[in-house]
Symmetry: C2
Subunit: 207 residues, 2 copies
């Protein structure tokens, strides 16, 4: 990923190894959080996925909550990278649709952690994590801008509060309809994305 590390002061081999190991841990954690919930994912799962001893995890992260918070920050980074990569001159509504499409694809690939559920002990930790909060605000601001833009153009319903639109878009990243349809086996992944995308933007009622 990071092929342009030369400007950084050179890292010792030890530090590079440390960093690489930590990246591997985070990568496995992101994957596992996409497959199961925070509560059911265990540190043994992570250790086995990375291929190191469980105790070694605690040399990098002081608790399960801290590890998963770091993973969530990494996920947020990917979202920001995706948002930043969208063409400037794309209409606002198309950017919103592209975002939802991308979220659904991540969800189908089990790469996107479910949003922290209400009673998870992870939630409290995340709300105290400045990097997470800052990232979440940055993402929300960017999307919120597109929402108001699309509403000004009259393509997104201007009567809906932007916050409601934002949350409705966010919720697609953990939409259970995706797994229902997936388990049914009747539709391809591409079909599922299109169907959920359509019900999200066009609604169930006929037009």
């Amino acid at each position: 990923m990071q092929t342009m590390q030369t400007p950084l002061p050179k890292l010792s081999f030890k530090e590079q190894m440390h960093q690489a190991r930590e990246d591997a841990i985070l990568q496995s954690t992101c994957q596992l959080l996409g497959e199961k919930a925070f509560d059911t994912m265990t540190m043994d799962d992570v250790a086995n996925a990375v291929g190191i001893a469980k105790a070694s995890l605690y040399k990098h992260f002081s608790s399960k909550e801290e590890l998963c918070s770091a993973a969530m920050v990494q996920i947020l980074g990917r979202v920001q990278a995706f948002l930043g990569g969208l063409s400037e001159d794309m209409p606002a509504q198309d950017k919103l649709r592209a975002l939802v499409r991308w979220s659904l694809e991540r969800l189908l690939a089990k790469e996107m952690p479910l949003l922290p559920s209400r009673n998870s002990s992870l939630r409290a930790q995340l709300m105290d994590n400045k990097a997470y909060i800052d990232g979440l605000i940055a993402v929300s601001d960017q999307i919120g801008q597109w929402i108001t833009e699309a509403q000004a153009q009259g393509v997104i319903n201007p009567e809906l509060p932007p916050l409601v639109v934002l949350y409705t878009l966010y919720a697609r990243a953990c939409d259970p309809v995706v797994s229902f349809l997936k388990e049914g086996g009747l539709y391809s992944d591409a079909d599922i994305v299109e169907l959920v995308l359509r019900t999200c933007f066009e609604g169930l009622a006929a037009r």
Copy 2:
């Protein structure tokens, strides 16, 4: 609820007490499953809520899974009772909207258990529970009938597969947008219901 018990052969006081205790356990379990997930709810929670010893729970239900399955069946019964209480001559789409409205109100009151999540050990147990499966099929058939009816009338988008519509309606019973908006504190419960209902049926795009 059941005021017409006279046709049943008379229950001994002991049996009545047994039944009453069991109803209380189920009632508390339904409430708790509305507040937290299956995995985070403990048998101690249930025992404390009912006001009995944990061991006593196991005289009524042989396992946590069996207890929660029975609770889910009870919830399904409430759904069926609600569906059956809807006026016969109400247009199909209005029945669907009434169902979603009711689901959202239950969710706001924390009375509706979240749908069994993907990796919960409850899921497997539920799929082996005939009463649950039968109830789920009955509910789905009833709603499916209204969906095709509304599609034939052209008020629900006829291009959407009925199964997609059904799942989209089901998913409102655990829509995270509700708790997001609730925690934001900007909207009343009634506002939240109307906003989610509108985005569900009318979509985000302007009409």
